[in-house]
């Protein structure tokens, strides 16, 4: 058998997603228009499910494919499952919104939405399996390009078009910076393959300035993708302008993929260089936590609030990356998993609520008295907010605990203290939202959009974030520890 077939077998999920996205495009084009969106969406979810099951069946251990361009290990498998689940949820949650919007009911409900999400999921799967800077770049672009289009998806809306353009221009700039870093690293290390670079760097005695510059540039590009401070400026504007289902997608799967990629790239620079990149991670973690907490206090728009919340959460997740230890990476993975459930749940509730004129809810003041008009949705949102704030019995507390524990174990006590203060500040605006929902007089009678699928997803996320979710703690701990261990070959 030709080695290319063995490689294709190792990259099973990517192969399934590639063929699936092409098939979904054909399916959408040749299905009658009024059914195309629903059929393509369900097909896309099925493809993602098949790709996910192929991961469960994958052989254990680390396998390299395509001459070292691609690696499949427990780390990539864990993140791919998370990415595929988040992307599939993003396809499903958009369905009611896509079907109802547009003047004739079909105009905005175009089947390209699930196809673009499939392509983005493929790019993200490539990112977490990158063993080469080339794979990293191509995967990043494949994930980013559909995102730009999705941000501008309701093109009749000026804000959506503006969000798409803003995201595109800044994203292209970030990609350029990242690519410049890649060329610097290639020039100084003579290879783009991460494990080769790791081998070279670990035996190197003197510090290489050019290599360091390359790492700084790559980190700047990746920090843009995870919207970490100081590369976060686009996030609130894009979240606010983009359609709500798209903002929900942006806040979940791409963050998981980019954080995973960041961990994989940085761990390819061990030894003396590690102390250098650790400073950068420390800075962006602290800056993201503090700015995300402080800037969110002044927000009155729900989507902007959730954008700042995602910036702050990325900061907390990066606390797990800063020590560069297996325990830290394991805490990082745990944090992303819980964060994805919390953020998707919050966006689902926002998406489910409708003003009397049929528009989606954007202003925080609209939520006043939600506990009386929509008690179940209010309860779910309260669970997500308490969980995001990290109030102990809820699941959101445990990943914060885990990342701080990992930081303290590596002697980063200052980082943990600043993170603790930031999380107290952040608790203010999460609790303010709960106060608006439970103790203010109802202003606008909000209706529920009433989609049973989205309702079930809200219930599942709320159950996971509630104290019942603690049942999932020990299996999650086993899975994240196994995934993190695969990044540290003995």
């Amino acid at each position: 058998m030709h080695p290319i077939f063995a490689s294709i077998a190792i990259a099973g999920p990517e192969t399934i997603l590639t063929l699936g996205s092409l098939a979904a495009l054909m399916l959408g084009s040749f299905t009658p228009r009024h059914r195309a969106l629903a059929v393509t969406s369900l097909f896309a979810v099925a493809i993602m499910a098949v790709a996910g099951f192929s991961l469960l069946d994958a052989p254990a251990g680390r396998s390299i494919a395509f001459d070292g361009l691609y690696v499949a290990d427990d780390f990539s498998a864990f993140l791919k499952l998370l990415i595929l689940a988040a992307a599939a949820a993003s396809v499903l949650l958009a369905l009611p919104w896509l079907q109802e919007s547009g003047p004739d009911g079909v105009a905005a409900g175009r089947f390209e939405y699930p196809v673009l999400l499939l392509l983005a999921a493929l790019g993200m799967a490539m990112m977490v399996s990158a063993n080469d800077l080339l794979t990293l770049y191509v995967g990043l672009e494949l994930a980013a390009l559909p995102s730009y289009v999705l941000a501008a998806f309701s093109r009749r809306d000026d804000r959506s078009a503006e969000a798409g353009l803003k995201y595109f221009v800044l994203g292209a700039l970030a990609s350029g910076i990242l690519l410049y870093g890649v060329t610097l690293i290639y020039g100084f290390a003579g290879s783009t393959q991460l494990d080769v670079i790791a081998g070279l760097v670990s035996v190197q005695s003197e510090r290489s300035l050019g290599l360091l510059f390359g790492i700084v540039f790559i980190l700047a590009g990746l920090a843009f993708k995870v919207s970490a401070v100081p590369f976060h400026m686009w996030t609130p504007d894009v979240y606010e302008g983009a359609p709500t289902p798209v903002a929900a997608f942006f806040s979940a799967a791409p963050k998981a993929a980019a954080l995973g990629l960041m961990a994989r790239v940085l761990l390819a620079f061990p030894g003396a260089v590690a102390a250098d990149w650790q400073q950068i991670i420390l800075f962006i973690a602290i800056a993201s936590m503090v700015l995300g907490a402080v800037a969110a206090v002044a927000q009155s728009n729900l989507k902007r609030l959730l954008a700042y919340s995602s910036i702050a959460n990325i900061g907390f997740a990066l606390v797990g990356l800063a020590p560069g230890t297996a325990a830290g990476i394991s805490a990082l993975l745990f944090y992303i998993t819980v964060y994805v459930a919390m953020t998707l749940g919050s966006f689902l509730v926002v998406l489910q609520l409708r003003r009397p004129d049929g528009a989606t809810v954007e202003a925080m003041a609209d939520l006043a008295g939600l506990s009386k008009t929509q008690p179940r949705l209010a309860a779910a949102l309260a669970i997500f907010m308490f969980s995001l704030a990290g109030i102990p019995p809820l699941l959101g507390f445990w990943p914060k605990f885990a990342v701080f524990q990992a930081a303290i174990a590596s002697g980063l006590i200052g980082l943990a203290i600043i993170g603790f203060i930031a999380s107290v500040v952040a608790a203010f605006y999460y609790l303010r939202l709960i106060k608006i929902m439970y103790f203010d007089e109802p202003a606008v009678p909000l209706a529920s959009e009433g989609s049973p699928v989205n309702g079930a997803m809200i219930a599942a996320c709320a159950l996971f974030c509630s104290p019942i979710g603690m049942l999932a703690l020990s299996p999650l701990a086993v899975a994240t520890a196994k995934a993190a261990a695969s990044l540290f070959p003995a």
Partner: protein
Amino acid sequence: MAAFAFYLFAGLLLTSGLMVITAKNPVHSVLWLILAFFNAAGLFILLGAEFLAMLLVIVYVGAVAVLFLFVVMMLDIDFRALQRGALQNLPLGLAVSGVILAEVLLVASGWTAGQGVIVHEALAGPPPGMSNTQWIGSQLYTRYFFVFSMSGLILLAAMVGAIVLTHRRRVGIKKQSIAAQNARTPAATLGVGKAGLGQGVEL
């Protein structure tokens, strides 16, 4: 001879680059830009990278520059009005670029090339009897097959995105329906009638 060719191409490249930004007429700017591309291609040939040279000519001159020309000629932009404010900001721009130039010179004077390079040996070139282009092609389709094919998917995503953002379904336009055309029979469209003297034909 090679040195002469280098200085010729490099000098022309710099001159035409300068002309791109100083030319009054935007169409002239684009034409200068095309000249700059050709000179850059000449430099690539001097380096022995004939494939890159051809790529530069085909992609940049053949596609990008022609697109620029079209845009410049089609759009009704008053470039005079755009340039009017430029002189006011000139002192500030010169000051900033002066600072940056000083910084670059300062850093460059203390720089020894090749410091910190981990791997010094050059990459293996093409095997004997194989041209550059052939070597790039064979690497692209074997070792880098994965990223090459995924780049194709990026282009697909870009294409789908362009259609999503710009295509709209217009109503009230007449389209060819090949099936309906083929299904027509003479009986449905042809008729034989008698035209009497001095009268028209009843249809």
